[in-house]
């Protein structure tokens, strides 16, 4: 066992588990970093490659170059080409595709793709050596190597595969002459900053400004929070300031945010005025002298706040340059910001905010100082020198906005002492995990968290999160549980025929552990498990590394046929290798394939627990079974059983084994929660009462009632929505907010039904996640809309949303073609996936369902809630509607689909999408009946 979870009087101390999780992620990231070489100016010019072959003279030449600064300088013809427009720089790179990364172009491309918008690290030759030799020592380097955000990359085709050959970075390194390599490791800097945040919390005092954060992670008694809450002045709803219009819920939430001595949590359903509340809180906080930090995981949400803070271009008459109207919008580069937010952009080396403030000052002085108008009319715009008043006003940085990790790159924030900001406002906090929150939270002393637990949760990358269980399970137990995972994922009638080679350090011990586990978790029809010596060769064979070839020979289905060396060929023999044993390529190439990380127990625990966590509470409250909730049945098969723990422990004491088993399950729950549960849930209560299976069952122990109770007085809900026509808000209100929120805040001009279900009978394109028929139908709808809307300066926005990236790409291409042909010239159209549309709104929304039958991916209520609540005026759902409606009718009609459980009411078993479309269909029918 790696970590234990000491219990403070307040709750469980989460810091050891957070630290272990982050360390595990870092080690996984650095286990095999992609290190790209930067060719020197001369080698780039003559086309020589760094990994070009065994040319001893070339190697000597390169070694000599490494010992001295390279000739090339930034922007002076060296490897770094700076773009004077936006400060980005291009650098050509060389990756060892010939040896180290041979045939892994796809993997590299995927990693580089995932690193875009994240920093890459500049390395000298010494740093590169250290990184390869000892990632741990590399991580301890002080000062840390420089980094810059990866903006884009360029590919070149070679030998039929796409190779990454050039990177665009947000900024060049400060000392380019010494930089020889670039480490492309996604999320490295993010995780390092999370570790820094954790350390700051650990070192803080209970009585200091970070005391509430210490209580949040269980480092000190929660009663301190309660004492602070009790001492806070009574909360009185805020009256609106000049020009502000607030409903009663907004006023109440603002009051809670302003009076909290620690945390305030605001639930803001779609269109309920979250941004209005945030900007009102900022305005009041600045008026009382606070310094405010505003962050959100998405740029769109940050820009929304900035746009609402700054004066509108046509409303500058009353612009007194109030400090809250001059936010700093920090971002490594400005390209991804909205036009208005860009005016307040501040980057690493450049900025536009100073010029914007100077322009606003000019307008104000012109209006108020009699001589100003004639002076500015004669201004020498080419004159150099500082403008003292503009500069000193621009230096007022009372509101700093950015993404949580990005803004930590801004010197003012990075250098700020713990608790230096009076207030941290986090938007979309339901997408943020505890470590992500701590990274930025340490800069403030009070926290206003705004989000919606019914919208998208934190992103869960199971392969990335899986290794956080490494030290909990240990290599042996993980191997045993992974066998359980493989068998569980095989249909029972195929299970008996499963063939699997397990490579273990102690084969005999592993065999008995697998047998014990399989029997304990009732994996019916399991194949025989034996060591290589035991024979006969069938089912699961456990062997050591030295006998792997023999095992392959004995069990391979290709034994009597032609050999293949394609490791992922269908029908090849799966090879499950104990962590820590390195199987080199030739040893598993003969008709075998390695079991991928995502199919091992650690990733599957995260994957399935995450699905159940976000679907089961809805399923319980909505009274409808969802197929995805049944994933919880699988969890038990690959979580460690008592028998497996006993077998690993090697002793027979039932009590000790049971204790060890409970501890492991508790620790798995802690790791799960730390890496996937949002800060929103930590503060308002993890919904553990809905769960009946490990590791979600153990979350009860982690959810601290004292914490929620201390914060409760400062939790508010915005219950009215102002975005959607009432016919659009009704179904989301009933299905996802249980009629407790999303009430209509404004009266509609007309009482018609603005939802249309558009039937496209053809199914999806074979073998892909696209549907060209739906794409065509959407094009026709767009052209039709284009013909109907008047030609106006502000084009109506249209969001086309689809669950799949492939379909989104198809739609984007088609929309571009329509735009080029001038067929949608009156519309502002953009395509999104379900997971990328949060925080946006548009007059019209078109949803392309792609599939005629729901997959588990479709069964996520939070995804659909987001997609269905973007439209302001009209919503079109395009797909095989009839198929889903038939599914709903069948589910309600056939009792065999409605098992009665525990004597409770019968629940139909249908997909979430069928339920949603059924509800819309009824709404439309209701409207048609009521029409005169």
């Amino acid at each position: 066992m790696g970590t234990d979870v000491p219990n403070t009087s307040s709750g469980i101390n989460l810091t050891p588990a957070i630290r272990s999780s982050l360390q595990a992620k870092l080690e996984r990231l650095l286990a095999r970093p992609i290190i790209a070489a930067i060719p020197s100016a001369s080698s780039a010019a003559n086309g020589a490659t760094r990994f070009g072959g065994p040319d001893i003279f070339r190697a000597l030449q390169l070694a000599a170059q490494d010992s001295q600064p390279s000739a090339g300088r930034s922007g002076q013809g060296g490897p770094w080409t700076e773009n004077p427009e936006d400060g980005t720089c291009l650098v050509r790179i060389e990756i060892d595709y010939d040896d180290l990364w041979r045939s892994r172009e796809k993997e590299i491309l995927e990693t580089v793709k995932n690193t875009v918008e994240s920093p890459v690290t500049f390395l000298t030759s010494e740093q590169k050596t250290l990184l390869e030799r000892s990632p741990r020592e590399f991580l301890e380097l002080n000062p840390r190597p420089e980094s810059a955000e990866l903006v884009a990359y360029r590919l070149e085709s070679k030998g039929g595969s796409e190779r990454v050959v050039e990177l665009t970075l947000a900024a060049p390194p400060a000392s380019p002459a010494y930089v020889r390599f670039i480490a492309i490791v996604p999320n490295l800097v993010q995780i390092e900053r999370q570790l820094d945040g954790l350390q700051t919390v650990e070192q803080a005092s209970d009585d200091g400004p970070l005391g509430p954060l210490r209580a949040l992670v269980g480092l000190c008694d929660v009663s301190r929070l309660q004492t602070l809450s009790d001492a806070a002045p009574p909360i009185a709803p805020e009256s609106p300031a000049t020009g502000e219009r607030l409903d009663e819920f907004q006023a109440e939430c603002i009051a809670k945010a302003m009076s909290t001595p620690h945390f305030a949590v605001i639930q803001g359903p779609p269109g309920s005025g979250k941004t209005t509340v945030i900007t009102s809180v900022i305005r009041r906080a600045i008026a009382r002298g606070d310094r405010v930090l505003v962050v959100s995981p998405t740029h769109v949400a940050v820009d929304n706040v900035v746009e609402k803070l700054v004066p509108k271009p046509d409303d500058l008459t009353e612009d007194r340059l109030e400090p809250h109207t001059m936010p700093v919008r920090y971002s490594a580069r400005k390209n991804k910001l909205s036009d208005r937010a860009m005016e307040y952009w501040v980057g690493g080396k450049r900025q536009l905010r100073g010029a914007t403030i100077s322009r606003r000052l000019q307008q104000r002085l012109t209006a108020h100082v009699p001589v100003a108008k004639s002076l500015f009319a004669r201004e020498d715009s080419n004159a150099h020198g500082s403008a003292a008043l503009s500069a000193s006003i621009a230096a007022v940085e009372r509101v700093i906005c950015g993404t949580p990790i990005g803004v930590l790159s801004y010197a003012t924030v990075r250098g700020a002492a713990p608790g230096a900001f009076d207030l941290l406002i986090v938007d979309e906090v339901s997408k943020m995990t505890l470590p992500e929150f701590l990274a930025i939270a340490v800069k403030a002393k009070r926290w206003v968290l705004v989000g919606d637990p019914q919208q998208l949760p934190p992103y869960n990358n199971s392969e990335e999160n899986g290794p956080t269980l490494d030290d909990v399970l240990g290599a042996h137990l993980e191997l045993v549980c992974s066998v359980g995972a493989i068998l569980e994922r095989t249909k029972p009638y195929h299970r008996r025929a499963t063939r699997l080679i397990v490579v273990a350090s102690e084969p005999a011990r592993t065999v008995s552990a697998i047998r014990a586990h399989v029997s304990a978790v009732n994996l019916e029809s399991s194949p025989p498990v034996a060591t290589l010596d035991e024979g006969p060769m069938d089912g699961i064979v456990v062997c050591g590394l030295d006998s792997l070839d023999a095992a392959c020979e004995a069990l391979s289905p290709m034994r009597n046929r032609d050999r293949t060396h394609a490791p992922d060929q269908r029908g090849s023999l799966p090879l499950l290798v104990e962590r820590g044993i390195r199987v080199t390529r030739p040893e598993y190439a003969s008709g075998t394939r390695l079991v991928e990380t995502r199919y091992r127990c650690q990733a599957l625990i995260f994957e399935n627990a995450f699905n159940v966590y976000h679907a089961q509470p809805w399923s319980e409250r909505a009274g409808q079974k969802l197929a995805i909730v049944r994933f919880r049945n699988g969890l038990e098969k690959y979580l460690p059983s008592v028998a497996a723990v006993a077998s690993v422990n090697g002793h027979a004491d039932a009590l000790l084994n049971s204790d060890a088993h409970r501890t492991i399950r508790g620790e798995i729950a802690a790791r799960y929660a730390i890496n996937t549960v949002s800060v929103y849930d930590w503060l308002t209560g993890i919904p553990a009462e809905y769960f009946d299976v490990s590791p979600l069952l153990e979350l009860q122990r982690l959810s601290h009632p004292g914490l929620c109770s201390a914060v409760r007085a400062f939790v508010g809900v915005l219950k009215k929505q102002y975005r959607m026509h009432s016919s659009l808000s009704r179904i989301p209100r009933e299905l996802f907010y249980y009629n407790e929120a999303l009430h209509d805040g404004k009266k509609d001009e007309s009482a018609d039904c603005r939802v249309a279900l558009v039937q496209v009978s053809e199914g999806g394109d074979a073998g892909s996640e696209t549907n060209s028929q739906e794409c065509e139908r959407i094009c026709r709808l767009l052209a039709d809309l284009n013909a109907r809307v008047p030609d106006q300066e502000k084009k109506p926005g249209i969001m086309v949303i689809t669950p799949y990236r492939d379909q989104k790409a198809l739609l984007s291409d088609t929309i571009d073609e329509l735009r080029d042909r001038g067929q949608i010239n009156r519309l502002d159209v953009d395509a999104f996936t379900l997971d990328s549309c949060q925080g946006r709104e548009a007059e019209y929304v078109l949803i392309s369902l792609v599939r005629s039958k729901a997959t588990p991916f479709f069964d996520m209520p939070k995804r659909w809630n987001v997609a269905l609540t973007r439209a302001m005026l009209r919503l079109f759902i395009v797909g095989n509607i009839d198929s889903y409606l038939r599914e709903a009718v069948d589910a309600r009609r056939h009792p065999r689909n409605q098992p009665r459980e525990k004597g409770g009411p019968a629940r139909p078993l249908m997909s979430l999408l069928a339920r949603i479309l059924e509800a819309y269909d009824r709404q439309i029918a209701e409207y048609q009946r009521s029409k005169p």
């Binding site: 002085l365 108020h368 100082v369 020198g385 403008a387 000193s392």
Partner: protein, 88 residues
């Protein structure tokens, strides 16, 4: 400072314009620093940045500051008038 009294140039720089605006916003009888932003139509919360912008004018001897009250010196007044008349 961008320009000394007596120096002649018809097209002023942005810095010089702001300084001239600051000088012309200070009444003959002087005023509290806290009033100055409001006299220029700016937020009262900008007292500190305005005070910072005044410092070079104080150092040049064009503005006198006593107990956070400012007034334009004779030299400052002369420069202001000279520059304004140059540009009239």
């Amino acid at each position: 400072m961008n320009r000394k009294p007596g120096e002649s140039q018809s097209a002023p720089s942005r810095g010089e314009i702001e300084n001239l605006c600051l000088l012309s916003a200070i009444p003959d009888e002087g005023c509290a620093l806290s009033e100055l932003p409001v006299r220029m139509g700016l937020s009262p919360l900008l007292e500190e940045p305005v005070a910072e912008a005044i410092v070079p004018l104080v150092n040049a001897g064009w503005v006198q500051e006593v107990d956070r009250c400012v007034s334009v010196s004779a030299a400052g007044r002369a420069w202001l008038e000279e520059r304004l008349s140059e540009m009239a």
